[in-house]
């Protein structure tokens, strides 16, 4: 037995509540953050990601009260994303009990942030989220400000170059969000993840496209990722985590049961 592949539900947080909807509009309240976190922990999630959607677009820092409430309640690791732009914000979030912080757009604006976080807290606390889309010329390139379609900006940096760069700067984990497959529920972007995997020596987490248990089997088997992140299929109950774990185990994939 060796290291298990991780199943990671992602929860959007707004003002301390879990919400669902398009990132900026029509938020539907999904419930209390602690109750949902406890439920996922109980069901066998290996880790949780909380994406603070209030913090990021509004330029606010993360409200650490809910981070502390989650840290008190659950006994599995969790990562906080959204709104982390400095070593000081990251410190507040980590001291409140988060195990990792994830940076995305702020790292594209100022890549040195990744190294500053790694120096301050160690690479194991530093996750870099990468939003990536294939352009017309066939190259995958990164995007920033992806919270809303109007704000999203394409950058000239290719995804492969960016992953190499952030790993060199001190990213201890990379979450690759494949925007082309995100929300489509037609499977992870195995081709892109495989390409990134081949040059990524740190843990790699797949994001975007989960719609069926077989998609998880495929992404672990074919792209050799360390974890798979999903939101909708877990929140709407269409893929219960215990049965997903059984499907993966039956397919010969190492999981924590």
């Amino acid at each position: 037995m060796t290291l298990a592949r991780r199943i990671i539900p992602c929860l959007d947080v707004r003002e301390g509540r879990v919400v669902k909807g398009t990132r900026f509009r029509d938020h539907r309240d999904m419930g209390d953050i602690v109750e949902l976190a406890e439920r996922y922990a109980r069901e066998g999630a290996d880790e949780l990601v909380f994406y603070d959607i209030t913090a990021s677009p509004e330029g606010r820092g993360v409200d650490v009260d809910w981070v502390e409430r989650v840290a008190r309640a659950i006994d599995i690791p969790f990562c906080v994303a959204g709104g982390i732009r400095s070593v000081d914000t990251a410190r507040a979030v980590l001291h409140a009990g988060a195990d990792k912080v994830s940076v995305n757009t702020p790292a594209t604006q100022r890549p040195a942030l990744v190294g500053e976080l790694a120096d301050a807290f160690g690479v194991q606390c530093v996750v870099v989220g990468v939003d990536s889309l294939r352009d017309a010329d066939g190259q995958w390139r990164i995007r920033q400000f992806t919270g809303s379609p109007e704000a999203t900006r394409a950058l000239p940096t290719t995804t492969l170059d960016w992953v190499r760069e952030v790993v060199g700067l001190g990213a201890g984990e990379v979450v690759l969000n494949c925007m082309g497959s995100d929300g489509v529920r037609d499977g992870y972007d195995v081709e892109q993840l495989t390409a990134v995997r081949s040059l990524c020596p740190v843990p790699l987490v797949a994001s975007g496209g989960a719609g069926a248990p077989q998609h998880f089997v495929d992404v672990f088997r074919e792209a050799d990722v360390d974890g798979a992140l999903a939101a909708t299929v877990f929140h709407d109950g269409s893929i219960p985590i215990p049965s997903l774990k059984r499907t993966l185990a039956d397919a010969g994939i190492e999981v924590r049961s």
């Binding site: 298990a4 690791p77 009990g97 195990d99 984990e173």
Partner: protein, 200 residues
């Protein structure tokens, strides 16, 4: 029971104290030598790098204090690594020397990602009160880039490319390379054992 949580500046201090709270135990976060020496249990948490961790313990004047602790002592993650004699991190650092052995970088390779991050199996479990109720193959949450090779002091191993020490003991000093505070029921059991089983 007085549980002293040594304030070595690591970011997992809150998480460890919450895990103890979930077990109904209260702990005192302290860097005061008298507090630490008066405690019934001492926990040295830690996240970060060995160089900064040792510097902080020296600045606080806690290096000798930790050597004087007679009560059961538990190092967690970096806290466990600091119990050894030496770490290769930060170009080589002399550490507390309370447990024989040294800490080296985990070599990465095909299929072996560094940091070692996630739920790995505990194997080769020794019969020890700290591991009461924990079974071979149970998984715990690891996140680290440095580790100690297995030795006569190893109580449990985990395999990441090669076998590594997951739990270690020398006298009344124990260490867990994984994070019991984030290892679900397995971690809770280990912490509970540390509070109630180890000095029976």
């Amino acid at each position: 029971m007085r549980v002293a949580l040594v304030d070595g500046g690591g970011t997992n201090i809150g998480s460890v104290s919450y895990a103890l709270e979930r077990l109904g135990a209260t702990s005192r976060l302290t860097a005061d030598p008298a507090d630490i020496l008066a405690a019934d249990r001492v926990i040295l948490p830690g996240v970060g790098a060995a160089g900064a961790g040792m510097r902080r313990l020296r600045e606080l004047g806690l290096v000798d204090t930790l050597a004087q602790v007679q009560a059961p002592l538990l190092g967690v993650c970096l806290g466990m690594q600091l119990l050894f004699e030496r770490s290769a991190e930060d170009g080589g650092v002399a550490t507390l020397g309370l447990v024989p052995g040294e800490v080296v970088g985990i070599p990465g390779g095909q299929g072996v990602r560094v940091p070692h991050m996630g739920w790995n199996a505990l194997t080769g479990l020794a019969d020890d009160p700290l591991l009461a109720g924990i079974e071979d193959g149970d998984r715990a949450y690891f996140v680290h880039s440095y580790a100690a090779a297995p030795s006569a002091h190893t109580l449990a191993r985990t395999v990441h490319g090669e076998p590594w020490t997951a739990v270690v003991r020398s006298g009344l000093r124990w260490g867990a390379q994984f994070h019991p505070e984030r290892s679900a029921s397995v971690g809770a059991r280990l912490l509970r054992n540390f509070l109630v089983e180890v000095d029976r």
